[in-house]
Subunit: 380 residues, 2 copies
């Protein structure tokens, strides 16, 4: 029981009886910790395009400052919304700038989706395991989670179909990371993507496609599975979330949500009450960076793909050499994460604790399960 203070009785119910989640505590610990970090989803620091960023921000301030330093539109700067629409077009998502809301990081996109869709106690479908941070963004509404297992081809959509048939009240939305999933690294197969969209139609569900890693595919020859949002019939069903944080620098909180104009209006309205609009200087800095004739933005993204592929290969080699017969792991075709199933009787918590004692940070698998589970660990 917390110590009584003058303001003790004034706290909202969702906080009064809950301690912080293991995921939250682990993340707080991982940030800035002096360890070998396989914990969070930190992009490689040597990839920051410092000189080009400096040039971009100088121009954004000196040449565009008077225009972009006042209050901005809650939807985001038109030029950045255009850039997002144009880049997504190359991945098969054909939209206009009107479908794009600039958000203060992807986490804000998740929070806004919850704010617009959720009533207290509603049900959300998630993958199991799933991205722990998303759950924190909806904590206030105290949702229930219907968690659907993930196998080598992503969420087991047949299982979701069974659960939906049994459900008394349909869930509000399905939250998933279909491509290079966090934490497992696997991708949802094309066949399952189509099946999921059919289920969404049948049960009138919104799908929230969280895609922070979709641009980091490792095998240049084989095209990655197309985003859910790019498939036929997805326009009205799928809210797509993407981000600049992973391809530029995560300290820069800059991401975007794609939705129908009607849903976008509601997200914009909710955003006004969160931070009014996303930092305009940061937005214009990225506009200047993408449009800098002396900097090849897409080559920068490709360099990221190469760097992360090499890291994955090194990690797979090390696992192969050391543990070949004892444990199994995923072989991600992209993204930031690799998932290790531990042998029976070995707990993820204990492995993570032992690793930390040696100065190495990994996350125990249990924290990625909305309803608890897991003899596994995640490597970033």
């Amino acid at each position: 029981m917390a110590q009584a203070t003058p303001t003790h009785g004034r706290v909202a119910a969702w906080l009064a009886n809950h301690t912080d989640t293991p995921a939250n505590r682990a993340v707080a610990l991982a940030v800035g910790a002096d360890v070998v970090g396989f914990g969070g989803g930190q992009p490689a620091a040597e990839l920051y395009p410092l000189e080009a960023l400096e040039r971009a921000f100088s121009r954004a301030i000196l040449e565009d400052g008077v225009k972009v330093l006042p209050y901005g539109a809650s939807e985001g700067l038109p030029a950045l919304r255009e850039i997002v629409a144009e880049r997504l077009g190359r991945r098969g998502i054909h939209i206009g700038a009107d479908n794009v809301l600039i958000t203060t990081g992807s986490m804000q996109g998740l929070h806004l989706v919850g704010r617009v869709l959720l009533d207290h106690g509603d049900t959300i479908v998630t993958e199991a395991p799933t991205f722990m941070g998303a759950l924190g963004s909806w904590e206030h509404q105290q949702p229930r989670y219907l968690s659907i297992p993930v196998d080598d081809h992503g969420m087991v959509v047949d299982r979701l179909e069974d659960e939906l048939r049994r459900a008394e009240r349909p869930p509000k939305f399905v939250y998933l990371l279909p491509t290079f999933q966090n934490p497992s690294g696997v991708s949802l197969s094309l066949e399952r993507r189509k099946h999921l969209l059919e289920l969404a139609d049948e049960h009138d569900l919104i799908i929230v496609e969280d895609d922070p890693y979709g641009e980091f595919w490792f095998d240049e020859g084989s095209e990655p599975v197309p985003p859910l949002r790019s498939l036929p019939g997805a326009d009205e069903r799928v809210i797509y979330l993407g981000t600049f944080s992973k391809i530029l620098a995560p300290g820069m909180r800059l991401a975007y949500a794609v939705a129908t104009p009607r849903l976008l209006n509601l997200l914009v309205r909710a955003k006004r009450g969160l931070d009014f609009h996303t930092d305009t200087l940061g937005q214009q800095g990225v506009v200047r960076l993408v449009r800098d004739g002396d900097f090849d933005f897409e080559a920068h993204v490709a360099a990221g793909r190469n760097a992360y592929r090499k890291r994955r290969d090194a990690m797979l080699d090390a696992l192969e050499t050391t543990f070949a017969n004892d444990i199994s792991w995923t072989r991600p075709a992209g993204g930031f994460f690799l998932w290790v199933d531990l042998p029976a009787g070995v707990s993820g918590d204990e492995v993570a604790k032992a690793a930390l004692a040696e100065g190495v940070m990994v996350f125990a698998g249990g924290m990625f399960y909305p309803n608890g589970d897991g003899a596994s660990i995640r490597f970033g």
Copy 2:
């Protein structure tokens, strides 16, 4: 009735039956509109310290980039928290960096306070009129508003005392802008500040002191009324919100909340689910700006005070010359706003509409009343 779409039934209750507020619509209209703007609280564009900002961001990227571009702590950069504590010390608020949470604009501070304190349908005490944006940040929880009138000495605290005696359930918190209030421009007298703190003790209330304009006093000789948070007994009662947006550039979403470490922990936890942390590049840019030996940050703030005093004087002269016998208005000793009471039979809405037709933006007073009211207009 909105047109039925596939996702029509999936929207949260607070949005399903409500159209957007007049305040929200007016703000959306005011941003970027090509009119003579006495609408929003826009700082003067000619005051942006462009060259110093450019220098600060160049250093933040080239010299500090590898340190500040990864994910940061949800509390904010330690150096910026120190700067906030140090600057507030000069206004009589003696705190450590541990009491400071860096927020993505003051609006986020307001939202976080609501997220941590409010349950659905709780009561909030506000001034009437009050800052419309704050109400938007709590919309999701559908609070009730107990609005207390404002006179020339700020909120009528005696009236609050009466209401608290009568209330069946105590309100969760008191939200007010005690210094150079938005929208009226008046300040709460020292005597009433002390009375308010006594009431807070008696009824176990938290006070949310929103102070975006407190640094813009106009009369150098006379010290402004000290912040509520600086008064004896306020440490445990008052959450203080301040901002860099008004003294630098509102497009930069950078502000701070001050609270006891216990409450701060809860605000931090809620912030993790909003945007994980405030943009670190923006934070480090301001650290570099404040610490730039070739730029006098405090002289920059003082220049703002001078510029706004001149604007107030010009506005008061114009009102005096034109309307001396017909209407009355406030004579703010600081801040961004001036409040005009219209004669009987003249509606604020109609005046604002007629002004807009002539290309001049003012906000009708009615939108500043939580429960509706007002034959008045606000000049920014």
